[in-house]
Amino acid sequence: MSKLIIKRILIMLPLLWLIATLTFFLLRVLPGGPFDAEKNLPPEIIANLKAKYHMDRTLPEQYYIYLQRVVKGDLGISYKYLDRSVNDILASALPVSLTLGIAALFLAIIIGVPLGIVAATKKGTAIDAMCIICSTLGVSLPSFVIGALLIFVFGIWLKLLPVALWESAWHVILPAFTLASGPTAYLARLTRSSVIDALSKDWVRTAQIKGEPYLQTVINHALRNALIPIITVLGPLSAILITGSFVVETIYAIPGMGRFFITAVSNRDYDLVIGTTLIFALLLIIANTIVDILYHILDPRITISD
């Protein structure tokens, strides 16, 4: 286990370095810079600004300066939010995004997995079809439309839940549902097929012949074995949650990290973009490592390559 973790860290470091480098240069390729504004500033002022942020140096020099800082754990400064460091900005936004993401993942599991089990046990019937359609509804509409619909129905029409903002636990419900819509469908589909698969196994049949109640069989044997593919999928799911977070955070006015992908890129806030990307990449890698460890615990027979 510890070997696995050490190995992961060893792979992670060059990967993060590659990501930082790639993003650094890709961003500089973009036309436009952080100091272009609707009201064009005089060249003298631009010169002052560039000097202040070391942007008058050559690109390799800037890259060197950046790397030096990152190694020390300093992700740089924001050009848009003056006088604020990227560490500072991300430190206040990350917990919010994590809360939202975990809430959504939780929702996806408690809705998607039961739907999948029911569909599998009633395979081929109308109930199966209903379950699959229900879970697919969530991935059949763009998330901004789902968000708008949820706000309209629950926030404005029924007045059951807060429309937006980030104040209490109630405020988490609608955004978490919006964010969970995609992963739920994914999980339901996966659970269904792995439970069907497991149910057709000999030992499940044996258990049934022995007179074990059907539901107990499903839970004790089929679901347990079906857990492995479900857990595998948690890694890619976190990626979906991350991509979805921008839309959801914007619609529900949530002060999370997702929105920096768009706003910071369009502001050409270089360091903030790289910082956000690095943190998200780190989260993904951690999620995948946890998945691998769970995998290992659930089924020690599986040896983990890389």
Binding site: T23, L30, A126, I132, V139, S140, P142, F144, L190, P236
Partner: protein, 273 residues
Amino acid sequence: MMKNRTYLAKIAGCIIFILCLIAILSSFGFPFTPYAFDQTSEHILEAPSAQHLFGTDELGRDLLTRIIYGSQLSISIGFLTALIASIVGITYGAIAGFAGDRIDTFMMRGIDLFYALPDLLIMILVGIIIGRGTLGILLALGLVSWMGTARLVRAQFLTLKNEEFIEAARACGASSWTIITRHLLPNALSPVIVSLTFIIPSAILAESTLSFIGLGLSPPACSWGTLASEGWRALRTEPHLILWPSLFIFMVVLSFNLLGDTLADTMDPKTRV
């Protein structure tokens, strides 16, 4: 036993077929509505009526016409993204899987890199650099959707490679190229086809998200995604602006998903998801 599912899949297949037909016919200039060649009128933001079945938009354009034209772009973006993803994915996966060892490990690290970079960032960067034409969007969507296919193909290759019939082919003196194209690929294709049916709908959805962000197609070109993102704020005052485009997105995405599910069920039970 599978009756219900196949029934659903048949309906889904019909819907997809009809929508594709509409898209193709309209691109050859088939006039579905009297407004096919007259996009502007003085009737701004009218609710659906006998004259304008789906209502009109802010510039007085017939929404039904716009949706029919939108189908061309939306559907072709879906298919082309899947095409790009499969070409890149199959090639990449085949090379990695066939070569194995060091090359394989190295290439898998490349995929890891792409997985670790958030999709959204890749799409934004490509969108900004290439610009907002169809090409930019295709590239952006293609770049984030090939990795799954590549992994699938590689996994298939790794297992198939050691099967007896490959050994046999090799013993007969077949070249690597022949082995890959004649023996390995055909046997690895079925999961790829299944995965394609999921790439298409997610590409259509991703395109609408791009429009929402502001990196979608540049007007006056329109797709269902741009129509939905232009209309969603008017949910309460002009619901038809958001209703119709979302309905079409909904139909096509749902159909593809159902079709894909059934394909996965029937084609090969080993290769689900």
